[in-house]
């Protein structure tokens, strides 16, 4: 899945894999992440990295599988400090993780359904940027919108 170097426009090959026990040391040592990822251990955790720099985790995602409701709940995504805000070097990291969650949801037979319960103030922004729609107090992507995210962020899958 290609990420993009913002300065050069270069496409960067990346991979998303499950977080291993040994990764928690890397996460702590890098000082790139503010959230306490040890707390998320009971959930499904995935990391994204460049294929030529496996030890440098760019972003982490925590998912909760809810099979009885045919959905995956997006509990947390955090992108490393170096790639946030105005100073970021690599783009499309969060979108790639999000699309990976949608892909997992399709693979598990949940029709691409991925839910999120963001702060009210941010709801409209998540809707505009990623195509989430409102379900009560939660947001979700599913079906065509979920497929569109996969096509946009994981085009080579």
């Amino acid at each position: 899945m290609p990420l993009r170097n913002i300065k050069t426009g270069e496409s960067l090959r990346s991979a998303i894999e499950a977080v291993l026990q040994s990764d928690f040391k890397l996460i702590a040592k890098s000082k790139e992440f503010d959230f306490d990822w040890e707390v998320e251990k009971e959930n499904e955790l995935y990391k994204i990295f460049l294929v030529n720099a496996e030890d440098e985790i760019l972003g982490i995602m925590s998912l909760i599988d809810i099979p009885e409701e045919y959905r995956i709940h997006l509990n947390l995504i955090e992108i490393g400090k170096s790639n946030r805000g105005k100073g970021k070097v690599i783009d499309l990291i969060a979108g790639s993780l999000l699309a990976f969650g949608c892909r997992l949801s399709f693979a598990r037979g949940y029709f691409g359904f991925l839910s999120l319960h963001p702060k009210t103030k941010l709801i409209e922004l998540y809707q505009n940027k990623y195509g989430f729609r409102q379900y009560g107090r939660l947001l979700a992507v599913e079906e065509e919108a979920s497929k569109a995210l996969i096509q946009k962020y994981l085009p080579n899958e």
Binding site: A94, F111, G136, E143, E157
Partner: protein
Amino acid sequence: MNNSEKIYKKLSKTYTDEEIVESFFFNETLSEEEQKAVNEEFRKLRLARLKQMTPQQILLGNLMQMKILMQDYFKTSKYDPAFSFANQLKHYIKLIGINSKTFSADIGIHPTKLSRIIHEKESPNIELMYRLEKHSDGEFPAFYWWRLHARKLEYLIKTDLEKKLQESSKVSNPLNLSA
């Protein structure tokens, strides 16, 4: 101030809302009771949505699942009979919900030929793979079908030792490249 509000306040000191949305997804923090109510409300909405899904939406989801599992299979190096060309074609026909006769007419091949391919009595050709790509509106490219077929061929070539010996016995004057 709840936990998500604290996180948001902290992030807001450095980033705009747009920048937060580009780098973070975090959940609203609620009391246990509030969370329970939200979960229950959502569960009802989700189950109602599942009941309302049209056959077309269910088909899209099922075909996406088939495609993604196929892609994941391509990333492995093993041969899995569940992912043979014949079994995946059978699965595809089942998902689209039409009988073999109608399907064979739709892709322009004789029903007997389709049956022979599905029962692995005959190998598929490239023409059929192009037709499957067209039939699936491009969702299953011809090369996906080829990969399924090629994976099985590779497995057979590696494991059919009897055939290997049989054919080896027909070769005269083989090269001897060992030192």
